[in-house]
């Protein structure tokens, strides 16, 4: 594993940092929190303009790079707490279309995604699944003239701003899961849109007798679960990078607070207990960065056991680290950590929600534990 960035990668990082610090200050972001779903078409277009929306997508359709580029972008998204649907549109759905789509589908959709003309979301989770990816009750069945889709998808991330949606369903005819690539305005869809705690958007999607055809199936019928698992691992790696960026910024803000906030006649950073707390926050973030490299390096690994262990380990470790850094940043800020007017509470909320997404700490520790059984037998 190489921990050094190439010159192009460093350039990507620097230009994105520059763009975001100019166009996505905390004050600007506070204003965007007042919009219905946090998504700003203007910002989205700006990102597209810099080519950022092509990171990790195929060059043939205007993309560039791979998981390392995604990591770089996501880390900056975490650092600036960007509310845009980058994860859903580019990483998850862009990735699924690139992996599974036909030449025609890729040529039609990826350029639009990369240009920022189309946002996409994945509708996979269901109410009783929790983090079990294989638990899908939504079904697609044969009916005269095509197929029909029924079921309810919950907490579709970035769902309120999606133009297209990928829906997973049990495919009774062939067995296994199939993925359906549909317009979000498809008749029979009912969207229940809402804000998420971190100012982004989500939605529940109720599918009632939605008429589809085999043309809508993305990839091979019945082969959806493996594709979803790979997409989720890519998303986990991206989440890890986002969390690392957010922790970095949060640690910097907390360190600054310790140096400037005075109590009892001295900067509070002179108190040894707070020094050690901050040292532990640094220690966690340092290791979290190592694990983010691991997740990035392994998220496309063909060996499923190796990939599973690495990605679950990274998500679990970073989840714990993010929890500790987030909670302690609030604690060290005192009352100010509770205020919505400072960035610290927003970082904390975002880190908390990253933790609850794509499997929480217990879920992924459990997976690493279960792999011991396999290894052992």
């Amino acid at each position: 594993m190489d921990f050094e960035l190439t010159d192009e990668q460093t350039l990507l990082r620097n230009s994105l940092q520059k763009l975001l610090s100019a166009e996505y200050s905390f004050e600007r972001r506070q204003a965007m929190l007042q919009t219905p779903f946090g998504h700003s078409p203007a910002v989205w277009k700006l990102l597209a303009g810099q080519g950022v929306l092509g990171a990790g997508l195929p060059e043939a359709q205007g993309g560039f790079g791979g998981p390392v580029e995604t990591m770089i972008v996501m880390e900056e998204i975490g650092r600036a707490l960007v509310l845009e649907p980058y994860m859903s549109s580019v990483v998850v759905c862009g990735g699924l279309i690139a992996d599974l789509g036909t030449e025609a589908e890729r040529n039609e959709l990826l350029p639009r995604i990369i240009a920022g003309d189309c946002c996409a979301a994945l509708a996979h989770h269901e109410a009783d699944a929790r983090y079990t990816l294989s638990h899908v009750k939504t079904s697609v069945r044969r009916q005269p003239g095509g197929l029909v889709l029924n079921g309810t998808k919950t907490v579709v991330q970035d769902g309120a701003v999606a133009d297209i949606v990928i829906v997973s369903a049990q495919d009774d005819e062939v067995g296994g899961l199939s993925l359906l690539l549909l317009d979000s305005t498809t008749p029979g869809f009912e969207w229940i849109r809402y804000r998420t705690q971190d100012g982004r958007s989500g939605a529940d999607l109720i599918c009632r007798d939605v008429q589809v055809t085999e043309q809508h199936v993305l990839g091979a019928r019945g082969a959806g679960l493996a594709a979803i698992e790979l997409a989720v691992d890519t998303a986990i790696a991206a989440s890890c990078a986002e969390a690392v960026g957010a922790m970095d910024a949060l640690n910097a803000a907390t360190l600054e607070h310790l140096k400037t906030r005075r109590q009892f006649g001295q900067p509070i950073g002179r108190f040894q207990v707070l020094q050690h707390r901050m040292a532990d926050m640094f220690l966690q973030a340092t290791q979290a960065r190592s694990m983010s490299f691991l997740a990035t390096g392994r998220c496309r690994e063909p060996d499923r056991v190796q990939r599973r262990r690495a990605l679950s380990a990274a998500k679990a470790f970073i989840g714990k680290a993010a929890r500790f850094v987030g909670q302690q940043a609030v604690q060290l800020h005192g009352g100010m950590g509770m205020s919505a007017q400072l960035s610290v509470s927003h970082y904390f909320k975002r880190l908390t929600l990253i933790n609850a997404t794509w499997g929480d700490v217990d879920h992924h520790v459990g997976i690493v534990g279960d792999l011991l059984l396999t290894a052992e037998q």
Binding site: H125, A127, D128, A129, R130, Y131, T132, S134, H135, T154, V155, Q157, I192, Y194, R195, T196, Q197, D198, G202, D204, R262, Q263, F264, G265, F271, V273, L274, Q327, V330, Q331, G334, G335, G337, M338, S339, A340, Q341, S345, F348, K349, T352, L353, A356, T357, D360, D362, V365, G366
Partner: protein, 375 residues
């Protein structure tokens, strides 16, 4: 206790001013308006253990919180240090719910280090003229009165020049501005005082002795600080939630790891409950439990935080949506079920305050190290 009210409390719904005042009136009419007050001031005259049992029962039954700034904070100070006129005027109005009190302690530059406060009160004839800014004021937008620590002597060493003033919130020159909080709710405020005139009659005790009264208050409030009843309530919610939430079709309660987490917090709560009882039992002899209250504050807040975190964790993806309307009592919208789970993530965020406010847990550990252990 009206069923509708307890349903709101148990459902973690938003409470109105009327909900809380109404409950105080109900208690008052039952003779329980001052469960922690001596009989001579209209209280119940209960022992600490009786008060504790009353508090726990109220919490478990889903009673709204008592407005503790009046009943448990300024009330006892007025009883101990107020003059007869102050006692006769203010105390009955606390008991019967007429006056809602709030607290004016923290300032932008004085958090844990309260003694460095700068809001000043200058004597001008029969009034003090108060100028300055208070912050992290809880529910002051609902309050009728505020008790404040103000500086009346800027020459003396920090603790010595502070006085304890009672201020009518309707006095001209007071501006209350909400501080938007992490969970999106309105709970705390900044308050500005711009030449606010306060009658000298509203000074508690002697001028420049306010620090003493504030310290008395800090150690007076102790047992309730553990919030054991509320924690029991949240533990019950968590158990019910874990039995209802599914994970790939299996109950979350059947997940061994999660059950261990449930058991760990239950055990911690048992230890806290028994420690509260031991402190109360020792109090029978010594009257003042003293610095042991720091133990209760630390563990009480840590357990509250653990419970709110597990309640959120139990939700899985449902931790994400933010549906503030679902916190209203009569809401039945979509997504379905949100009336149950929508408050929980916000509550986790909100409960982070418990280790910060009322003397941060770091300050409490200093107190244990210095006052109990002599380090």
């Amino acid at each position: 206790l009206p069923a509708q009210l307890s349903a709101k409390v148990l459902g973690l719904k938003r409470l109105t001013r009327e909900d809380i005042i109404g409950w105080q009136r109900i208690l008052h009419s039952a003779g329980w308006g001052g469960p922690s007050w001596p009989k001579e001031f209209g209280g119940t005259g209960w022992s600490s253990i009786e008060q504790h049992i009353f508090d726990e029962e109220c919490s478990l039954a889903g009673a709204p919180p008592i407005i503790s700034f009046g009943s448990r904070m300024v009330g006892p100070v007025i009883m101990a240090f107020g003059n007869r006129a102050q006692q006769e005027h203010f105390l009955p109005r606390i008991l019967n719910g007429t006056d809602w009190w709030c607290q004016g302690y923290s300032e932008p530059g004085a958090g844990s280090d309260l003694a460095s406060l700068t809001t000043r009160a200058e004597r001008r004839g029969s009034v003090y003229s108060v100028n300055g800014q208070k912050t992290w004021n809880t529910l002051g937008h609902l309050a009728d009165w505020i008790f404040c620590l103000v500086r009346t002597d800027s020459e003396a060493r920090p603790q010595a020049g502070i006085s304890f003033l009672l201020i009518d919130m309707r006095t001209p020159g007071i501006t209350v501005r909400p501080i938007p909080l992490i969970d999106g709710e309105h709970e705390v405020n900044e308050i500005w005082f711009d030449n606010v005139e306060v009658p000298i009659a509203n000074l508690i005790g002697e001028e420049n002795k306010g620090w003493t009264y504030a310290k008395y208050l800090l150690t007076h409030e102790r047992v309730n600080i553990a919030q054991v009843g509320q924690a029991r309530r949240e533990l019950k919610r968590l158990q019910q939630l874990a039995a209802r939430q599914l994970e790939g079709g299996q109950r979350l309660l059947d997940n061994v790891r999660f059950r261990h987490r449930l058991a760990e917090v239950e055990i911690d709560l048992m230890a806290l409950e028994l420690t509260v009882m031991r402190v109360l039992s020792a109090e029978k002899k010594r009257r003042d439990p003293g610095p042991e209250s720091s133990v209760l504050k630390i563990r009480g807040s840590e357990i509250q935080q653990a419970l709110s975190e597990l309640n959120m964790q139990a939700l899985g993806h449902y931790a994400l949506p933010w549906i503030p309307t679902a916190l209203d009592a009569d809401w039945h919208g979509s997504p379905a079920g949100a009336e149950v789970w929508a408050p929980l993530t916000g509550r986790y965020f909100n409960q982070r305050k418990t280790s910060i406010f009322s003397g941060s847990n770091e300050i409490q550990r200093n107190i244990i190290a210095q006052r109990i252990l002599g380090l």
